[in-house]
Symmetry: C2
Subunit: 231 residues, 2 copies
């Protein structure tokens, strides 16, 4: 995060991004400039810059000269996202297990502890919590951040965020909860022990989450629609 040179535009970009990922701006919503200008208290041009950035991140889609829309969600998109995530996440975890040093291991233990403590405190409702989502993201990042590949890490984070939008959409419909989270612990232990099994665990973890999302929130998504790729 930039602490000093934070421009108005990048600030709006960050806030809109958060609003889209947390589904405060719902998929498919039309983004009218007048309303957004009011909401974020900035001018047309500044908004336009933020929307252009989000558009390049495929969080909003621009429809020619007909304005911007929050990127739609679909089962096809979620499945596609999931497959891509498994591919990338396995690779960055493999590389991290190869290159990771003492500091890496310590960071993993620390971020797991933070996540686990909050989870215990919140009980079954952790899944709704903003702060838990942040710590969960930080834990997963700590697992793979030793892979020495900025390119892969950027792509991974990008996909993680996009997938997180689906997870949050499903959270309010969820009725099945694990009493205690054992998955993350197992992934961490296998990773720290450099067991190749960790790769399968992380892959299964991602796929299971996706299956749950589809089970509980699949009715919210468009079935056939495929998010257009700009080719």
């Amino acid at each position: 995060m930039k602490t000093k040179g934070e421009t108005r535009a990048s600030d709006v970009h960050t806030r809109m991004r958060a609003d889209i990922l947390s589904c405060e701006l719902k998929p498919g919503d039309k983004l009218r400039f007048e309303a957004l200008k009011d909401r974020y208290d900035v001018s047309f041009s500044t908004l336009r810059e933020a929307l252009a950035r989000l558009s390049a991140e495929s969080l909003v889609v621009s429809e020619g000269q007909r304005g911007f829309v929050v990127a739609p969600v679909s089962i096809a998109d979620l499945k596609d996202l999931t497959n891509a995530r498994v591919l990338l996440e396995r690779e960055v975890l493999r590389l991290s297990m190869e290159y990771g040093d003492d500091k890496w291991e310590a960071d993993i233990l620390a971020s797991y502890h933070r996540m686990d403590r909050l989870q215990t405190r919140l009980g079954a409702h952790y899944y709704f919590d903003e702060e838990w989502a942040r710590l969960h993201g930080a834990f997963h990042r700590s697992l793979v951040c030793a892979c020495k590949s900025p390119v892969l890490l950027d792509m991974r984070l990008h996909l993680f965020d996009r997938a997180n939008r689906y997870r949050r959409m499903s959270s309010q419909f969820r009725t099945k909860w694990r009493p205690k989270d054992v998955e993350h612990k197992a992934i961490m232990d296998a990773t720290l022990d450099r067991e190749p099994e960790a790769l399968d665990l992380i892959g299964r973890h991602i796929r299971e989450t996706t299956e749950n999302v589809i089970e509980f929130a699949g009715h919210l998504f468009v079935q056939d629609e495929v998010t257009a790729s700009v080719v």
Copy 2:
């Protein structure tokens, strides 16, 4: 390509993108608004939108409130890019070989033929040619476009373009040429025959290109600098 709803901003974005990828705007160049306004004949806001898009594509980097710079090049970045490309390219090729139908095969043959014909016509200088670069890109895309994963295809194209910038930078210093291009033919044949060997061939193809780029143009790149990732 949009033929109708082409806005001024997306047009400038496209042209600047091309200028960066073809190294007409050199890596590290400071992008001053006054000069760009003159060059592309547009206003501040329009430029700003295009730059924001390019920034999200990591083709330009924004330095807080100190303007924009064409993304720098480095050996570390090229190697990182190469590894990521091999991972993705193998996967989309594998999937395409699984899902590809008759039309896919026909498109591969057609785009190979177009590339091969131009190469024969141009002789050893094909490597400099803009049109050949386009046909080369189209051939590689045709190999993998049956993979049914918009997410992976977008990421692949993104990395391909970024790597292409390095290839073009090296072309003017190149002294070693293959008399006849046999690599692409071999990749195509193995792909159409659904031989798993195709995956290794494409991986080796990418790595060899990178090695040549480093051999002939390595002196142009910054050694240590690592392109900062926005995390």
